[in-house]
Subunit: 261 residues, 2 copies
Amino acid sequence: MQYRIGEFAELSGVSTKTLRYYEKIGLLRPAAVDARTRYRSYATAQLRDLSSILALRELGLPLLEIRAFLARTGSQADRRPLLLRLRQNTQHMIERARQSLNNIDAVLGQELDHPGFWTRTVPVVIKRRPGIRVASLRAQIKDGHYSDVSRFERELLGALPGELLGSVRGTLWHRCADGSLNAEAFIEIRHDPPRRSFYDLKDLPPVTAACAFCSNDDAAADEAYCAIRTWMASRGLILASPKREIYLDDMLEIQFPLESA
Amino acid sequence: MQYRIGEFAELSGVSTKTLRYYEKIGLLRPAAVDARTRYRSYATAQLRDLSSILALRELGLPLLEIRAFLARTGSQADRRPLLLRLRQNTQHMIERARQSLNNIDAVLGQELDHPGFWTRTVPVVIKRRPGIRVASLRAQIKDGHYSDVSRFERELLGALPGELLGSVRGTLWHRCADGSLNAEAFIEIRHDPPRRSFYDLKDLPPVTAACAFCSNDDAAADEAYCAIRTWMASRGLILASPKREIYLDDMLEIQFPLESA
DNA sequence: ACGACCTTAACGGTGCGTTAAAGTTT
DNA sequence: CAAACTTTAACGCACCGTTAAGGTCG
């Protein structure tokens, strides 16, 4: 007994288009093809073949891997590695989806409390930043004397030959155990300068950070800081190292390095 | 301050290709394009725009919907429906992934107990079956007298005019509360016959069923029944109505209708 | 002759990654 | 001059859904 593509599709519960596609990729070839009309014919036994395919598809196996899998059913290869790989993929998907759900819920909660929250809030994104070599100058900041930082930066700029300078400039904010606040102005350098001077040379390690952009004024910066803190709290993320401020012309990027856990 | 595409990509943490793509779909247009070289220029303020886009992308919103969303930020439309829709999508994804994980684990468990299980087992798939109109004949089966069923079928076939017959034939198996087993042979009909006769006319309701194909003999059928039961048990699925056997030439399809829950 | 089937071919969707070939800047 | 940038254009991926334009079957 032979079925035409439509009947076979109906019986097996897939579309005719799917059957044609499966033939094209060599996954399920019809039992016969009429030489004149090119109509496909499927045999009843192929209903079982298709079921095998669909069962594997259900497990999330890509079609081409199904083809490979079924091609070597003769061999007594171990299925477990394949299944374990599938399992891991699936778990990974769940993990990411769960994260996403958490994030949505966090935003949704804020929306409920403060309608229009989303349109006003500062967007926060997670970002990988490469390590860079910097020259830096660190000092304790007495309450309110934030403007000292720009003085440090000018001193650094003055002391470094121009051809060494990279494009990244900013400040690290250290909160010390005794409660005092330290600021460390830094400038990226392409190479180390020939001779030491009053500044430090160090590698700023690569980090994954929660980041936000704002315009370069105190009010906007405060808002951005606050947004990042809220964002991290709702995701259970923890600050791993000093916060970074990057100066971008008329804007500021705030980066909170994250625990890689 | 203007950035070229590579710098802007570096600062924002996306690829240049992504930026070009975002321009193409009208999601983020560069602040300027050099008329001669066609080099793109991005402004610092666009770092914030891109962050907004990425934050929405993180939530799983498709790029075109992000575009629509950002285009109407002026309006005070309620964001909650959108967020709730996203939430539902995400939950749905989790649900399916979790199902998939369960299924993989079920197979994996069997593989551990009986290596090579997968290659020998009867593939089971879940399938939606449409409702059909049938003529049927029901009777109690005394233990072992399964062959009575084919007699019923012959009687039905003899009593129905040929032009009424559909293509589906089979048997419903009723397990009654008192433990007795009833069989009901049925044949699909295109229209009701003009006059009543000894058979019943009824609608076989549409169902979602766990299905397997096997060759048309008792040993294979037993194996298929067993496979479906195992399959359903590992997924916590429950039989909702009489099992169905569909006759397909030299093969048999076994269908276990499922609780829609 | 009509409708319900079948055929191939091609585009679309999602979000870019990946060459390729050629021009620009430093 | 060479390296490192930029441009457009086009294919690829996974899995089909969806027309479109045309043959075939009952």
